[in-house]
């Protein structure tokens, strides 16, 4: 789960990290008032769950309340398309209005989980502002990596080492080390998959300040963070993906036209590859999970069918815990409820296969059965019929 910048900054402040004074604004006039309170100049920043806001026109330094008002008016209620969103972008429901900082130098700092190290690592670079991905490809030597031993935690000497490599000295070195230590505590205590500050700055007065703040909290750990659960912003999520997640269905929307219903993540990925190889690009990834009921299968089918791109549906179920008859009943249920007509290619294996097939055969739906993935490929190679 992603947090908004303003939410992450509130958490940063609780851990003693300085952030610019800021007010969240939901209207243009609130943005103007906030700018006024900061002396007539401010940074106005769209609050969306996506990076790349600056390049996409979602951030502006304004020199008057009027400018703040008109910039905010243009953003609020619109959608921001960045290099990290899809073409539809994400809605802008609020802007963060912040007092301007006096920037001396900029740095990049993040804490993330490293799969090779099997634990947290701190990543830093003296070149702030630009994207770390770009830096990693252009100048990998400029990236500082500090793995953390989970028993010891990120030690103060490690924070000083990173700060030194960032080119800091004197009081700024000591202050930055404190900030790095706090970022690691934020990462661990809030079960984050990522805490990122880009840029972390040294101000003209030598103080350390987080100008931006990004926090991703691990979904699987939300059960023990009632406070963070409150920060979820469903408007920022893909509506179908969020609806699916509510029912414990893993769904990712894609660009093609073949709706896919599969049980198991690995088989679901494999099924997309099969569809693609057959020249029939998939409209979605969907893993309905192991112990699904007919209602859950019906829910999954209705999510698939609510995507207007879907002109046919591919079902690939390896019936173990999920029985084939249950899957078949769920499919028929959803098609009847939605009065849908998209043809189906159905491949099922395992428990109660014959019963599942006869339920589908008796349903009157346009079903092509396939016994193997090779037959699925053949069935998908023909264009859909009967819509």
């Amino acid at each position: 789960m992603k947090l908004h910048e303003y939410q992450a900054k509130a958490i940063f402040a609780r851990y003693g990290i300085s952030v610019p004074d800021g007010n969240l604004a939901h209207t243009a006039s609130e943005a103007a008032t906030a700018t006024e309170s900061f002396g007539g100049r401010a940074a106005v920043k769209a609050q969306v769950h996506a990076g790349g806001r600056g390049l996409a026109g979602g951030v502006k330094v304004v020199s008057s309340p009027e400018e703040a008002s008109s910039f905010a008016a243009g953003l609020l209620g619109s959608r921001l398309v960045t290099n990290q969103t899809d073409a539809a972008g994400v809605p802008i429901d609020s802007v963060l209005v912040e007092s301007l900082a006096n920037i001396g130098s900029e740095m990049y700092v993040a804490v993330t989980m490293d799969r090779d190290h099997r634990g947290a690592v701190m990543i830093a670079s003296a070149g702030g502002g630009t994207s770390i991905e770009q830096l990693a490809s252009e100048d990998p030597d400029a990236i500082i990596t500090e793995p953390v031993d989970p028993v010891m935690g990120l030690m103060p000497y490690q924070c000083r080492r990173v700060a030194t490599r960032l080119g800091l000295s004197g009081a700024a070195l000591r202050d930055a080390a404190e900030v790095l230590s706090a970022l690691y505590r934020i990462f661990v205590e809030n079960d984050c998959s990522l805490v990122e500050v880009n840029p972390l700055i040294v101000t003209g007065d030598g103080a350390i300040m987080a100008l931006d703040a990004k926090m991703d909290v691990e979904d699987d750990a939300l059960f023990r963070h009632a406070d963070l659960q409150q920060l979820r912003d469903r408007n920022q999520e893909d509506p179908l993906e969020a609806e699916a997640a509510d029912d414990d269905i893993a769904y990712v929307s894609l660009d093609g036209s073949v709706g896919c219903l599969v049980n198991g993540a690995g088989l679901a990925m494999a099924t997309l590859d099969v569809a693609n190889a057959a020249g029939a690009p998939p409209a979605n990834f969907l893993d309905v999970g192991g112990g699904a009921t007919d209602e859950k299968v019906a829910k999954a089918v209705s999510i698939i069918l609510s995507d207007p791109k879907v002109d046919r549906v591919l079902v690939n179920v390896f019936g173990g815990i999920l029985r084939c008859d249950v899957a078949a009943r769920g499919i028929v249920l959803a098609y009847e409820q939605l009065q849908a007509e998209q043809p189906l290619v159905v491949r099922m294996l395992g428990t109660n296969l014959e019963e599942g097939k006869s339920i589908l055969a008796a349903s009157g739906l346009n079903v092509t059965f396939a016994d193997t993935l090779t037959e699925v490929t053949a069935a998908l190679s023909n264009p859909p019929t009967g819509v």
Partner: protein, 298 residues
Amino acid sequence: MGILLNEQSRVLVQGITGREGSFHARACKDYGTQLVAGVTPGRGGQLFDDAVPVFNSVEEAVDATQANVSLIFVPPPFAPDAIAESVDAGIPLIACITEGIPVHDMVGLYRYVKANPARLIGPNCPGMINPGARCKVGIMPGNIHMPGRVGVVSRSGTLTYEAVGQLTEKEIGQSSCVGIGGDPIIGSSFVDILRLYNDDPDTDLVVFIGEIGGNMEQQAAEFIGSPEFTKPVCSLIVGATAPSGKRMGHAGAIITGESATAESKIRALERAGARIIPTPADIGDTVATALVEIGLGA
């Protein structure tokens, strides 16, 4: 012979009285697995299916039954404790099926397991099976397997069944099948399992199924290409269609950089000399052809 499991495997199930635990404990037992004990705190003294004693702790279960494999069906908030309890009781082989354990919990747990004489398979995995020994420690449907000399290793559940189904269809039997799990931090890597297959005199060829995310497949490729590894490998990597930055069901299946893509993994495996399975529909055919080429096929 196969790997990890054999006729001497004595299995206990943690969470045996739960819905999933009881269903799968029964399926394992029906397959032929020596199910010697169950553990559910507070239910000690009961009998599962009138036959299998239930204990309050793993320690008690091991003392009474000499269990040497643990299979875990415990919900995510309590699964790390269940794994640690089995490690502490001296169980050498632990399979954790549970999906959804917070990654932060696995960081410490991974090190705890490594510091002890225990091997963890999973979490978020289907478990493992040795068809020749009629021993199944996991949630895979037993009936699709047949005894034989091809080893299978994969991250996933149903895709492993798909692979096994295609092999059995061609009457290519399996020495063992292992699903190592779809999470970012798991107890055993591909290399760990490939090493076991390399040392197993009853495995002729390994089917290795990877997916997008991380670089465990590249590490496996490096091992497969090394002189130490001597067995032929047929490899399938899934997720070529996946968009960057999206979690594809498995917590670990997310493209975060170039090395996490299917293309990069396939290239590494090609360089290592593995036979690439072109699409998921071609698993059985590719293995059958490979077996003929190495003089072991029909």
